[in-house]
Every structure is written in structure tokens, then in C-alpha cells.
């Protein structure tokens, strides 16, 4: 069935034009002629692009890294105006859920700590405690200029000059505050870093 430009009639799903790369239709499974056409169908598995039964060989460390990458759970934790941008990143417009990022209100089940805002000296001990309560492996994203080096409060009497004075940081996101796109970039970079670290081991 050819689709002309400007043709507004709905097109029924056709397995022959389902992908630009002209992949063969996988035999068996959900794409058999017996399965009803149309509606929501699961996406093609990344392991099954060749059309043959999926086999992947890799060191266990890399497989674990792949799993961790696809399911980063940041601790729900905001300190200043960056937290507002972080919240809007989680919400429907930017939707971090599609990257596998699920916010979690407890350090015990979290992987990532997003330091979103100004770290004052009075708040430093609780931040350290929360970091220590998170199980390994864990990562830290310093969001915004305050968490990076103090930002506008540089050398202030009450502000820590960067959260890396108290806990190790993996990714720094610049901005004051960073836009949601910047935080998403930071999370993508963290995913890359997790995968690269697994390859190096």
C-alpha cells in the first residue's frame, strides 16, 4: 500500500514497511500472520535485529552495566532552584522515565544522587549521610554551578565550594540553573560513563 504525500486516510499496519532498514520479518513469535494486525505492538528487541534468535555474548560486568544504565534510580532530593528544573525534567514534557530513570524517595534503593542546588555547610552532613546510605554501585551528578563550585556563592561564609568537597562526583552539569535538556544530557553522559567503566574492567 503506497502512501502519497498529503494522503490523510489512516494506514493499517503492514509488517513489510515497518522499518527503514528493510529488515526481514522475524519468523514466529508475535509477528506471525495469525496475530491480529494493528494496535500497539512491542518494539523490536535490540538483540533481535538480525531476525535470528537473539544471542549476545559479553562479559557479565558489561551486561550488568547495560542493565544498570537502563534503570538509574535517582534519590528524590532537591536543595534549591535547580530542584525545580529537576522536577520539570521528570515531568511529562521531558519525561525522564523513557530513559529508565525512576525517582525514588529512599537512599536504600537508589543508584544516583542528583545534587540539585546550593550545598550549605549546615546541609553538608545530611548529604554525606544520604550518600553513605546508598548501596554500591552509586553515582553522583552535580547539577548547576552551586553544586559544582559554589557558583554565585563562591567563598561565602555558609556555602560549600562544590559538593565534591564532601562526596565524589561523576558528572558536572553546568548552568544556573541548567535547563532540563542539560540535565538529560548529564544523565546520558552518566549512562555512557557506566558502560565505558564496565568495558575498562
Amino acid at each position: 500500500m503506497a502512501v502519497k504525500p498529503g494522503d490523510m486516510t489512516p494506514v493499517t499496519w503492514d509488517p513489510k514497511r515497518r522499518h527503514k532498514l528493510d529488515l526481514p520479518v522475524t519468523p514466529g513469535g508475535w509477528e506471525t500472520p495469525q496475530a491480529p494486525l494493528g494496535g500497539n505492538r512491542p518494539a523490536l528487541s535490540p538483540f533481535n535485529k538480525s531476525g535470528v534468535p537473539g544471542i549476545i555474548t559479553a562479559p557479565a560486568e558489561q551486561l550488568f552495566a547495560l542493565a544498570r544504565t537502563s534503570s538509574l534510580w535517582p534519590l528524590t532530593f532537591g536543595l534549591a532552584c535547580c530542584a525545580i528544573e529537576m522536577i520539570s525534567t521528570y515531568m511529562a514534557h521531558h519525561d525522564l522515565d523513557r530513559l529508565g530513570v525512576v525517582t525514588w524517595p529512599s537512599p536504600r534503593q537508589s543508584d544516583v544522587m542528583i545534587i540539585a542546588g546550593t550545598v550549605v555547610k549546615k546541609m553538608a552532613p545530611p548529604i554525606k549521610l544520604l550518600y553513605e546510605q546508598m548501596p554500591d554501585p552509586k553515582w553522583v551528578i552535580a547539577m548547576g554551578s552551586c553544586a559544582t563550585n559554589g557558583g554565585p556563592y563562591y567563598r561565602s561564609y555558609s556555602v560549600v565550594m562544590g559538593v565534591d568537597h564532601i562526596i565524589p562526583v561523576d558528572v558536572y552539569v553546568p548552568g544556573c540553573p541548567p535547563r532540563p535538556e542539560a540535565l538529560m544530557e548529564g544523565i546520558l553522559r552518566l549512562q555512557e560513563k557506566i558502560k565505558q567503566d564496565a568495558r575498562r574492567k
Binding site: 555547610k121 549546615k122 553538608a124 567563598r155 561565602s156 561564609y157 555558609s158 565550594m161
Partner: protein
Amino acid sequence: MTQERPAPAARAHPAPAEAQAALTEKGKALSALLHEALAEFKPAMSAALDEVVLTVDRANLVKAATKLRDDPRLAFDYLMCLSVVDYEDRFEVVYHLRSLAKPARFTLKVSLPYDDPIVPSVMGVWPGADWYEREGHDLFGVNFEGHPNLAPLLLYEGFEGYPGRKSYPINDYQEW
């Protein structure tokens, strides 16, 4: 080219009598009422824009505050804000008061000498003064006598100095 800063005299506040003359009718009525009700404490009357400003001696503060709250003609039952100002030769503690029943608002001030910054606490009159007074104690070192717990609220334990004061160095980073 550098821009000249305005001379201090040009920025000086108008004299109390002039400032009072600029008040609205409602403000003048409130000013007269306060002057009459607090006559025993000899308040110094002034004004800033359209707000009545009244200064009392720190020895009379709690008595004046109790009267301001309990007198049915005044009924200033809500302390909106308490702040401390460093004028380098003195401190001023500023109480922004509001009457929810009337409604009316005005500013009460107490002046303190720089080397003896002690003022009685008004927590017994307006319990909401609790954290404001702790903040004033933290940042300016003003001692609010009679406050049950002047532990640091905003600063951490072991902080040295008073960062709200103008004499505090702006770039003084303390390792903690």
C-alpha cells in the same frame, strides 16, 4: 568614565515631622492613636512612605508590645517580620506588626548600642518571634534576653563571627 556616587546627604531620610506630614489620612489617625495609647513609654514617632514608624526604648519594649497586642483599639496580634539592621554605630531591631482584626500595620523599632546588643525577647507576646530572634542572634550577635533556646538556626555549630554585620569580611571562607 566612573560614575559619581550620590552624596550621603542626598540619600538622607526626611525629618520625622516631614515624614509624618506625608502620611495618608488613615496613617495619621493610626499615628495619633499609637501616640496616645503608648504615651507612658514616650515613643518617638516617624514615618516611612505611607507606613507609621515608632521607636521605643528597649527597657519598655515588652510592656509596649503587650499593650499593642492586648489593647482592643490596637489589637496588633500578628508579628509579620522581625529583622535586625546594622547601622555601624548602632543596631536597630525592626518589628513589622499587623492587626488582623482592624486591619492595620505599622513598624516598631528598637535601637541598641553597638557594644551592648541586648534586647528583651518578645516571644512571650508573639510566639512567632522564635526563629526570627534565633536568626538575628546567629547573623548579628544580638542577644535576645529571655529567649528559651538561642541555638544556631541557620549557621552550623562552631561558626565564628557574625556574618550579617557590615564589619564581617565578604570573602571569609571558613573550613568547617
